[in-house]
């Protein structure tokens, strides 16, 4: 079992290329999800503050 897993990760000598492509894709795709999520939070908070102010007035 273990050698098989090792072989799988070895990728016939192309480990670096294969895993960094997949890794890069993963990172970029996840970043593109996280960034709008964070931005949404920030925006909602700032709008909430704005709304709050208006209500107080």
């Amino acid at each position: 079992m273990l050698p098989e897993i090792q072989e799988f990760f070895h990728m016939g000598g192309y480990a670096f290329y294969v895993w960094s492509s997949y890794g890069l894709c993963f990172i970029v795709l996840v970043l593109n999800i996280i960034i709008p999520l964070c931005r949404e939070k920030v925006i909602i908070r700032s709008i909430a503050i704005q709304v709050h102010r208006k209500q107080q007035k």
Binding site: F8, M11, G12, G13, Y14, Y17, V18, S20, S21, Y22, L24, C25, V28, L29, L31, N32, I33, P36, L37, R39, E40, I43, I44, S46, I47, A48, Q50, V51, H52, K54, Q55
Partner: protein
């Protein structure tokens, strides 16, 4: 008819609808990704020439396809926004740009990572590679223009025109392999009549392509929602929405 569309495309309705869509497509995307990655890494055979490095195909080709597709979406949405003044379309065009740039970057990066073992160099000045690089610059130019113009309405309309002018490059990228003899792979998958690729590789590849597509839809909607909120921050429906939520 037009009024119908306008009503559907009102920011408020769109915001509500997009929330659902993000969830559906996000879920589909996750499933497809898992299937595609497993299929690609575990169940598909290594290539007889390229060995295991061929597994890069499952991330490279969908990224490359999406990089072209997203540009078309961006230009199309921008044009619709420009002509019919539909705000949603402006927002979608604007949100597509960073995603398209990301896909282009991924196509370039994974292509380089594939090229090093195959051609012995990270980069060769091949027509397709270079034209893909141009595509990246087109996206960056679009983003730069958007950020240089402060008024969002003006920025969206200016961007639409730029994207339209730039669309001339898309066929050039796509057909570059046929027009110039190059190192890069010719059409293998996209020859519709007889794909010259093994079925065991084709299936995970198509799964990944679908996954990318779903990913794009949900990601672009997420971005669009943010932009919409920021744009419409002074309008009544946003006030109500946030007011309810914070209560």
């Amino acid at each position: 008819m037009l009024r119908h569309i306008n009503q559907f495309a009102s920011p408020k309705n769109f915001y509500a609808l997009s929330c659902k869509l993000v969830h559906y497509f996000g879920g589909a995307c996750l499933l497809l990704f898992v299937a595609g990655v497993f299929g690609g890494l575990l169940f598909s055979p290594p290539d007889y020439q390229q060995g295991e490095s061929v597994r890069i195909i499952y991330v490279h080709v969908p990224s490359a396809w999406m990089s072209l597709f997203v540009y078309i979406v961006m230009a199309g949405a921008g044009t619709i926004g420009l002509i019919w003044r539909i705000k949603i379309m402006d927002v979608i065009a604007r949100s597509s740009a960073p995603l398209g740039a990301s896909f282009t970057f991924l196509a370039l990066a994974t292509g380089s990572l594939w090229g090093k073992p195959m051609w012995g160099a990270w980069w060769v000045w091949d027509a397709r590679l270079t034209s893909e690089l141009i595509l990246l610059f087109l996206y960056l130019g679009y983003i730069a223009l958007q950020s240089a113009i402060e008024d969002p309405r003006m920025a969206a309309r200016a961007g639409a025109i730029l994207a339209l002018i730039g669309i001339i490059n898309i066929p050039i990228i796509h057909f570059s392999v046929e027009w110039w003899s190059t190192l890069h792979q010719g059409p293998t998958v996209s020859k519709l009549d007889a794909p010259s690729i093994h079925i065991d590789m084709l299936i995970p590849l198509l799964l990944m392509a679908l996954a990318y597509m779903c990913y794009f839809i949900s990601a672009v909607l997420m971005r669009a929602r943010c932009d919409l909120l920021a744009l419409e921050r002074n309008s009544a429906w946003v006030g109500e929405l946030i007011g309810e939520r914070s209560r």
